[in-house]
């Protein structure tokens, strides 16, 4: 079956990885065994193959032994295949003449106490890799040009930062936000720890920059509808939701010169429909034609068609000159072509009412941290006056329940992870009430105060010094006095070892956070995995925290996992930098794993054509008969067609049937059948 045209001359290089591998299996035995395998002319071992000296061993051996195939038995190809391909290339071979045996992640680390089992498995793994290496061929990566544009999904602080960085690097950037305004969660915050600067004050300039950056095309009230293509050449279909209000530009396009919405608000004034404002978490009203808050960007009203009764009052109020309102518009679609994409879709709070013991939504004066932000914010529904929802009184004793639904393994709405910023914002909240309400005392019920960032522990020190009370005990339950609406908080002061019940005027739950519900759809469209807890999965938690396993897709902000604003911005800058690299290089090399038709074998049945999810295959007429033809630029190399073709007429490069069969044979027949 073998296709090898030349005599195989394979070098096998076995890595100790310190004791990671060498501590669980016999490198010596594997090396000796490798030498006995057909085609192997040299076998070497080294402490750290990926180090510079380690790679030199490979480079030198290729020259010395005139190798035409390289096998490294070490960690995972997902970690170091690129490294060793470069070494192979430096040695003068085509870089696809390289194959890896994963004897660490899938052997020594998972069979740590089975020396014999691990050693014998490693031998098999090397034998299987050698079998494939014997049949490897020279391949040329396909180089494709990269669209000089990028897409950022989500315009919270993460998405905005990423877009600004990309745009400033000279890249045309589409910033897509599903809400009518940009800003995300940060725009709902009052102040930010640990510096306590006003959230809006530091965010608004960024929002303005985003709005007027010549390279940013801001698309609010817009969602991603479909994603096609691959790194360098994504075609993204966007749904621009019917807003009912025209921008000045849109108005001008309709011939209404000088028209379009100028944000005067006359329309909302007359609109008879009142709805809760989601930006204020329902604590303030808005009309059916609305803006979230005065600082919105773009300053453009939006009609909520779900509640609009089409009375037309707003149209009249807006007037003939501006003619900004059109109640008959429908969703429109737009396609953009981009080279890379960044996802920055943020997070939600968990529905904390699911933790019944704390009575959220049952007791008036139990609120979430986010509601606290709105209530304490000068531009919030109460003008910054923190009041009890039950009676409008100013609370004096305020309890903060930390880890509300975080670090909790009971399932339901609870989350096993630490939400990572709630300790810090609860400290901030404690400070805010002491600052704003004379005589007010915050009680923080905590398990640990996780203040690990720069100047965070110092912030903790400061708040303690200001007089906040810290009680180390997780809150067991809360009871409400039905008359006074005061709340009794039950816990144990675990440091005293005494049960505690304290009456509070108000309780703030530092509710856990969770991925957005739409994250699931977004990640499937972009081909991104999720981690166990539903957050979008990075390519490597330490070495590639901004990338994903799909080339050209990057992550920024909380959508990848809980993080505060500094970390969100840092990751956004990292993602922007990563996303700009292929764009600046201008081309990417695609792994040449595409399908090829072996025309002599093709029966022209056409079965494969419908199987390809990317429409890469067609039947064409050649020499008077139908044969299949691959459009390489469309093929992504999944091999689905190759797995199906009844005649074996499809050759999947680098994963050819003979190669895979040789691997199977190598294991089962000890390489007998060749």
């Amino acid at each position: 079956m073998a296709e090898a045209k030349e005599q195989p001359r394979i070098g096998v290089f076995i890595c100790h990885c310190g004791t990671n591998i060498a501590g669980s299996l016999s490198i010596e035995e594997v090396k000796e065994y490798a030498m006995t395998l057909p085609g192997v002319v040299v076998a070497e071992e080294y402490q750290y193959m990926c180090s510079t000296p380690g790679q030199s061993i490979i480079v030198d051996a290729i020259a010395e032994h005139n190798l035409n195939g390289v096998v490294v038995a070490a960690c995972s190809p997902r970690l170091h295949e690129p490294t060793f391909r470069i070494a192979t290339q430096e040695g003068g071979l085509n870089k696809f003449r390289f194959e890896m045996a994963n004897i660490r992640d899938q052997n020594s680390w998972v069979h740590m106490h089975d020396w014999e089992g691990a050693t014998s498995k490693a031998k098999d793994q090397v034998r299987i890799a050698v079998a494939k290496a014997r049949m490897l061929e020279d391949l040329e990566p396909k180089s494709v040009p990269v669209e000089h544009a990028a897409l950022v999904v989500g315009a919270g602080v993460g998405g905005m930062q990423a877009a600004l960085d990309l745009a400033s690097a000279g890249i045309k950037t589409y910033l897509v936000e599903k809400n009518p305004t940009i800003g995300g969660r940060m725009s709902q915050l009052d102040k930010t720890f640990p510096t306590l600067d006003c959230s809006q004050c530091i965010l608004t300039p960024k929002m303005v920059d985003v709005g007027r950056h010549p390279n940013i095309e801001l698309m609010t009230y817009t969602e991603v509808e479909n994603v096609e293509g691959y790194i360098g050449n994504f075609t993204i279909t966007l749904r621009k939701k019917a807003r009912g209000v025209l921008t000045p530009a849109e108005a001008e396009a309709r011939g209404i010169v000088g028209g379009g919405c100028n944000g005067c608000g006359d329309c909302a004034e007359v609109c008879p429909v009142i709805k809760p404002n989601p930006f204020e978490l329902g604590m303030a009203p808005r009309k059916a034609i609305y803006i979230y808050h005065p600082q919105v960007n773009p300053l453009l009203y939006t009609v909520d068609f779900d509640s609009c009764i089409k009375c037309g009052l707003c149209v009249t109020a807006c007037g003939e000159e501006k003619k900004a309102i059109d109640l008959d518009v429908v969703d429109t679609f737009e396609q953009v072509r981009v080279g890379t994409c960044i996802l920055a879709i943020g997070y939600d709070l968990i529905p904390i009412e699911g933790k019944k013991e704390w009575g959220y939504k049952r007791y008036d004066n139990v609120i979430t941290g986010l509601e606290f932000e709105r209530l304490i914010c000068a531009s919030g529904p109460t003008g910054g006056k923190l009041i009890r929802p039950s009676d409008g009184q100013i609370p004096k004793k305020i309890g903060f329940v930390l880890c509300a639904g975080s670090r909790d393994n009971t399932g339901g709405v609870a989350k096993p992870y630490c939400s990572r910023f709630c300790c810090m914002y609860s400290l901030k909240h404690a400070h805010q009430i002491m600052e704003k309400i004379p005589g007010a005392v915050p009680y923080l019920f905590y398990m640990d105060i996780r203040s690990f960032g720069k100047m965070y522990e110092e912030f903790y020190y400061r708040i303690q010094n200001e007089g906040a009370k810290f009680i180390r005990g997780r809150v067991a339950n809360i009871l409400e006095d039905p008359t006074s609406k005061n709340l009794t908080v039950f816990t144990e002061d675990t440091l005293l070892g005494r049960p505690l019940s304290l009456e509070m005027d108000m309780v703030v739950l530092a509710a856990a956070i969770q991925p957005k519900p739409e994250a699931e759809r977004i990640r499937q469209m972009f081909g991104v995995s999720k981690s166990q807890d539903g957050w979008l999965l990075e390519a490597h938690p330490k070495l590639n925290p901004c990338g994903t396993t799909t080339a050209g897709i990057y992550l920024a902000g909380v959508c990848q996992g809980p993080k505060d604003i500094p970390d969100t911005v840092a990751q956004a800058e990292g993602a922007a930098s990563a996303a700009s690299i292929p764009i600046h290089i201008g081309e990417v090399q695609l792994e040449p794993y595409f399908a090829q038709c072996i025309e002599e074998l093709c029966a022209g049945c056409g079965m494969c054509v419908n199987l390809c999810p990317y429409g890469a295959l067609d039947l064409v007429e050649k020499d008077g008969r139908d044969v299949m033809e691959v459009t390489e630029a469309k093929c992504k190399g999944c091999g689905t067609c190759g797995g199906f073709c009844p005649g074996g007429a499809i050759k999947m490069q680098h994963f050819t049937s003979p190669q895979i069969c040789a691997q199977i044979d190598a294991f089962l027949l000890e390489g007998g059948e060749q």
């Binding site: 067991a476 339950n477 144990e492 070892g497």
Partner: protein, 194 residues
């Protein structure tokens, strides 16, 4: 392991005795025994205090369920089993419902009580119930006032349980004897002169 003070004054030495935790205070198997009997992940307790905060017994006594969890984790068997507070849990399961680590502290207490019983540590009311069930099949048996009340209601004087069908008693006794429960109860009560 405690250091000898050699002050030549036993009273003073007792007063100044080192109170460090020593390895010989602990029984490394205790945690495993507790886990086995309770079938809960007792070792995962992170001492948050939710359990004590939920506990109806805690505010009116020195009973601290969290303390027992800690003793379990550390293997402080003697300290746990000899503490009379062990018997103050009403098994209300509030702690179990709220424990964020998804442990069942109630079952840990039950397990510790089972283990205490193996050392004959048990309040006598529990043993009396054993004797009653052994002889009547019921922990709270019938009495004459109740019999006549039952009659007035049109019920049988004795309910259709082991009270009416004594032929089922040997079965119950065999089961209890299998575990030598009656034997042990009788013995412990006798030793206490009850």
């Amino acid at each position: 392991m405690a250091t000898e003070k050699n002050y030549g004054n036993p009273e003073l030495e007792a007063k100044l005795r080192d109170r460090y935790l020593y390895t010989d205070d602990t029984n490394p198997e205790f945690l495993n025994d507790v886990k086995k009997v309770s079938r809960t992940i007792a070792h995962m307790c992170y001492q948050c205090g939710t359990c004590t905060g939920s506990c109806p017994s805690a505010p009116r006594s020195s009973y601290r369920i969290r303390l027992f969890m800690r003793r379990g984790v550390l293997g402080l068997e003697k300290e746990a089993l000899n503490d009379p507070d062990l018997w103050l849990c009403t098994t209300c399961y509030s702690c179990t419902d709220r424990c964020p680590r998804d442990i069942a502290p109630t079952d840990v207490i039950m397990a510790m009580r089972n283990l205490a019983f193996k050392y004959d540590i048990v309040p006598r009311n529990f043993l009396k119930t054993v004797q009653l069930i052994y002889t009547t099949g019921h922990g709270v048996p019938n009495n004459d006032v109740n019999r006549s009340a039952r009659e007035k209601l049109g019920l049988s004087r004795d309910p259709p349980t082991t009270h009416s069908y004594p032929e089922f008693m040997p079965g119950i006794q065999k089961i209890i004897d299998h575990y030598k429960l009656k034997e042990n109860a009788d013995r412990i009560l006798a030793e206490e002169g009850q």
